[in-house]
């Protein structure tokens, strides 16, 4: 009992998540800077940003509903932390593995997006309202291909548990090659879920100031930033477990492999961010509905066929 509480709170649970997400944000910003031929921020930069934001005064707009305004950052961070606990970090099995946790994780990762929308809508400000509605519009664009891409490996593995899927692909590593189109789709949809360039129209700071979070300041803004980087860590972990099936069976080697895999995924996301410019929200919609959704659907049908028709 005590051991499992420690596992959830310290390693590989919440403390590890907070440290690792700070590391990932540093890697993200540093590599982005190096790709622009800059020196980039020092290693402690994400931590300094967090501490500074915690120390600043919180301003609540007078026409916003106070309880909702202050509850949203906590709710979104809690949802992301709960999602992270379902992903395998130390060894092949997650701390809280249960059948169907992949679906639960996908829904938990939707909560921060909805919190963004509510935060913008509740701020009653022009820019934040535009940002909120763009967030929601973009969610309707990427959610369908994201779900189909994340569920394709699950259908081939015949289980809805992330740890179970990882175990299946550990047993049959070559089957993972079938899921490569789904990996491509899920990388792009994750980029859009995390609202990073080229899909950052909802928070375009040169255009609509900062999107849904315009009115947020102080520790509430720090919570939303923490949500964003923890979501990056959680999404990278889920992608690593679903699409990169390299396990050895030895716990600490698997942990090292986990770090390598998530770093590779984050580097690919930085490459996307550094090499592309922001596209408009209508272009985002068209791209997701007319290009990525058919690819994801073809992958889903192929996996259903392989699973049911050939009985893999």
């Amino acid at each position: 009992m005590l051991l499992s509480i420690l596992k959830v709170l310290v390693f590989p649970g919440l403390l590890f998540l907070s440290v690792y997400s700070l590391v990932l944000e540093f890697v993200d910003r540093k590599v982005y800077a190096r790709m622009q031929n800059r020196k980039g921020p020092p290693w402690y930069q994400p931590m300094a940003d967090m501490l500074k934001l915690v120390g600043k005064k919180v301003i609540v707009p007078s026409n916003a509903q106070k309880f909702v305004f202050s509850a949203l950052p906590t709710v979104s961070l809690a949802a992301v932390c709960a999602a992270f606990l379902c992903t395998p970090v130390w060894g092949e099995t997650a701390i809280t593995a249960y059948s169907g946790d992949l679906v639960a994780v996908l829904y938990l990762l939707t909560i921060p997006t909805l919190c963004h929308f509510l935060a913008g809508y509740n701020s009653h400000e022009v820019y934040s309202t535009i940002g909120a509605f763009r967030t929601l519009t973009q969610m309707f664009a990427y959610e369908v291909p994201l779900f189909m891409a994340f569920l394709s490996p699950a259908i081939l593995a015949g289980t809805w548990s992330i740890s179970g899927i990882a175990a299946f692909y550990h047993a049959h590593p070559l089957y993972a090659l079938i899921n490569l189109p789904a990996f491509f789709v899920s990388l792009l949809t994750s980029q859009s879920k995390l609202e990073r360039t080229p899909f950052d129209a909802p928070e375009a700071e040169t255009e609509i100031v900062g999107g849904a979070l315009v009115e947020y300041s102080g520790r509430y803004l720090a919570f939303f930033r923490a949500t964003a980087i923890a979501e990056l860590a959680a999404v990278a972990s889920v992608l690593a477990a679903l699409f990169l099936p390299f396990f050895t069976g030895i716990a600490w080697v698997d942990f090292a492999l986990y770090l390598v895999k998530t770093l590779v995924i984050v580097l690919m996301m930085v490459l996307l961010r550094a090499t592309m410019a922001r596209i408009r929200i209508d272009q985002t919609l068209r791209f997701f509905w007319s290009i990525l959704t058919p690819i994801a659907m073809a992958q889903l049908i192929l996996n259903l066929f392989l699973r049911g028709g050939l009985g893999l």
């Binding site: 980039g40 921020p41 930069q45 940003d49 501490l51 120390g55 600043k56 005064k57 040169t206 315009v214």
Partner: protein, 148 residues
């Protein structure tokens, strides 16, 4: 001063986020501010990021003499920032009003409307001068913290 306060004070020095406001400049100093943010000078190595929203920013970087049109807006943007906050006046016009001083439509320097923490003279200022001034402003933060 507890450990958390010390950590927060350290974070304040290491991560000043700026917001840029043109109070009526001829655009010369604005070009130089944008210049300082380009990869050539790379302000992110000092933790400086440009923010769109005044709620997110710590340092208000103002250029130009304050005109009657922008006076109220400058005051409003300053009030929207959350404390602790700092103001940097970039360019001779922002410091004193410059050649526009005592013009019929000009109030004067930035400090006639809001309190200013650092003055950077020059017409137009060099990006190196902006970076140097921000560094010096951050170095004085300790003294400010003690005096508060």
């Amino acid at each position: 001063m507890g450990l958390l306060d010390k950590a927060i004070a350290w974070g304040e020095k290491k991560s000043p986020w700026i917001i840029h406001f043109n109070a009526g400049a001829c655009n010369g100093c604005d070009i130089e501010v944008v210049d300082a943010l380009t990869p050539q000078y790379d302000l992110e190595r000092l933790g400086i990021l440009q923010q769109g929203s005044p709620r997110h920013a710590d340092v208000l970087v103002c250029t130009g003499a304050v005109t009657l049109q922008t006076r109220d807006r400058l005051k409003q943007i300053y009030d929207q920032m959350s404390t602790p906050k700092f103001v940097v006046a970039v360019g001779t016009c922002a410091c004193t009003g410059g050649i526009f001083d005592s013009c019929y439509c000009v109030t004067g320097g930035i400090d006639t409307v809001i309190p200013v923490d650092a003055y950077i003279p020059g017409c137009a200022v060099r990006p190196e001068a902006i970076i140097d001034a921000v560094g010096k402003l951050l170095a004085t933060l300790d003294a400010k913290e003690a005096g508060k």
